[in-house]
């Protein structure tokens, strides 16, 4: 780290007034409090306000110490961006939240790239020039890493967005020799950053182009159901990109935020991987859905029971305790509101209703919780896997809607199953399982059959999740 000790105290940043440095520290602390608030729904809104105040402090401090001269242009830029962001945030459907988050990640990535390029073109403004008119070696490495991570975040998030939004097939796209290609490109980027740190400033552009490419290459082989991990991972990258820029600018607020966001995304990725019992490497290597469904589809002609909405209504009405298990299918058919109606009717009949959420249900962490909250389901009726799994044995009905693999007993019993070892919701222990599913033909993303379909205590309710729930609500009325 010799380049460090040679850092002379010149340039704008080194000369930043003490009050400004304190202000950035305060906004960093407010960002910590913003995340801390999310430990419970009660404190969460106050936390969000802390975050807003922190951002306001950071922006005002920067404008006062740097940008007063261009205040008009900057005001317009903020107004344009702010208006777009605000309107999108108000209009977006809750089911589209994963796409929105992916789109937001891509913007952070692109902004990091633009800032990096601007710093490269005008290093003097960023106070990263040494006495000979060169960019500091350390700053060059930070810049190189910053734009590389930013570019990967951008292009990866664009692909994730296209897949989540349905503009691109969710199926993995597998290029031949992709592992070698990807590893080669990644190694190439690191080597280029190292050389760029020493000399040859033109390499900056090569780093940028390769990084955009690797973002695309990394995400296209990953299937739709692995998206919770991908979205979390890109979340993490957007943080590291901000942190790298924070090093270049020697800005405490950016460094603290980058570290927070980086660890947040990393932890979410870890939780998601664990909930699927898969290693992070295997998710990133991609191709999960494709390989599994390409295998021999061992379809058996085992007998199964089909029920009508009225049958289901009758069973639900006579139950004492019902546990509802929602999955991605509920989100697709927008059944959350009808589902809550069903829950309300049952509660009026004196039935105890609870919701059980598997960590990877849906397309991003916490996806189901948001949808249920949107439908006005009180959050204290919604339980995580480990808190409710023991209760299925005492439940009269497990109502599975739009979920499949997360209820598959093969994960506990069949060592050859691709999902073996994944924690699952033990719905089959309930007296009756009502399983809402579009058709018997389709299997879950893992491409494995689910024994629950064929159990004596299971009644299959075939049809669209929303329509079926609607009919059950009608059935409950008479």
């Amino acid at each position: 780290m010799e380049h460090v000790s040679s850092t002379p105290v010149v340039g704008h940043l080194a000369a930043a007034p003490a009050w400004a440095m304190l202000a950035y520290l305060v906004s960093g602390v407010l960002f910590i409090l913003a995340l801390r608030g999310l430990s419970s729904p009660e404190s969460s809104r106050a936390g969000n306000r802390f975050g807003m105040i922190g951002m306001l402090i950071a922006v005002i401090t920067t404008i006062v110490t740097h940008s007063l001269a261009n205040i008009a242009e900057i005001g317009i830029a903020i107004a344009i961006g702010g208006a777009i962001g605000y309107i999108v945030a108000q209009r977006i459907a809750m089911t589209a939240m994963p796409q929105l988050v992916a789109a937001f990640h891509s913007l952070v990535g692109l902004a990091a790239v633009l800032v990096g390029v601007a710093a490269y073109l005008n290093p003097e403004a960023f106070g990263i020039l040494d006495t000979t008119g060169q960019i500091f070696k350390g700053s060059r490495i930070e810049l190189g890493l910053g734009v590389a991570i930013g570019a990967i975040t951008f292009s990866g998030s664009v692909i994730a967005f296209l897949k989540l939004n349905g503009n691109m097939s969710g199926a993995p796209i597998l290029l031949p020799g992709r592992h070698i290609l990807n590893l080669g490109v990644l190694a190439g980027i690191l080597v280029l950053v190292a050389i760029f740190g020493r000399e040859t400033p033109e390499l900056f552009w090569a780093i940028l182009i390769l990084s955009f490419a690797i973002g695309f290459l990394l995400i296209i082989p990953i299937g739709g159901a692995d998206m919770p991990v991908v979205v979390s991972m890109l979340n993490s990258y957007s943080g590291w990109a901000a942190a790298a820029m924070g090093f270049t600018l020697q800005n405490t607020a950016m460094i603290i935020t980058g570290a927070l966001v980086g660890s947040s995304g990393a932890i979410l990725s870890y939780i998601m991987c664990k909930a699927m019992n898969r290693s992070f490497i295997s998710v990133i290597a991609g191709g999960f859905g494709a390989e599994a469904s390409a295998g021999p589809a061992a379809k058996t002609d085992r007998p199964w029971k089909r029920g009508s909405a009225d049958d289901a209504a009758f069973i639900l009405k006579n139950a004492e305790k019902v546990i509802i298990v929602p999955g991605y299918g509920m989100a697709v058919s927008q059944a959350q509101h009808t589902l809550r109606e069903m829950g309300d009717v049952l509660k009026k009949e004196g039935v105890e209703v609870k919701y059980a959420i598997h960590p990877v249900a849906g397309r991003m962490p916490g996806h189901m919780n948001v949808l249920l909250a949107e439908a006005n389901v009180p959050y204290d009726e919604v339980f995580e896997l480990e808190d409710i799994n023991s209760e299925f044995a005492q439940a009269d009905v497990a109502f599975v809607i739009g979920a499949n693999d997360v209820t598959n007993p093969a994960a506990q019993t069949d060592k050859s199953s691709p999902i073996y070892g994944m924690p699952v919701l033990e719905v089959w222990k309930a007296k009756t399982v009502l399983f809402v599913k579009r058709s018997m033909g389709g299997v879950g993303y893992a491409g494995v059959d689910n024994d629950v379909f064929y159990m004596d205590n299971t009644m299959m309710l075939l049809g669209d999740a929303k329509k079926m729930t609607d009919e059950i609500v009608k059935g409950l009325a008479h």
Partner: protein
Amino acid sequence: MDFIAILSIFVLACFVGYYVVWSVTPALHTPLMAVTNAISSVIIVGALIAAAASGSPAAKWLGLAAVVLASVNIFGGFAVTERMLAMYKKKEKKG
């Protein structure tokens, strides 16, 4: 500030992040992603510096473009988080 001082802040902040994020309730993981999105747009600080600087018109316009992108994220991220958090309600106590 020298590199070591900055690195110290970074490393400590990673630890703070680790413990704070583990204490986030899983039910709020989607708002967590939305709000981390909003706060990582603190990169707007760099964008503002670039936009304010004279010397390189290209850098200035890139800076302004980055200000627009980061603002989309800041306003959008906080607003959508606020909207989501407002939906989380406790069971109404029956009187």
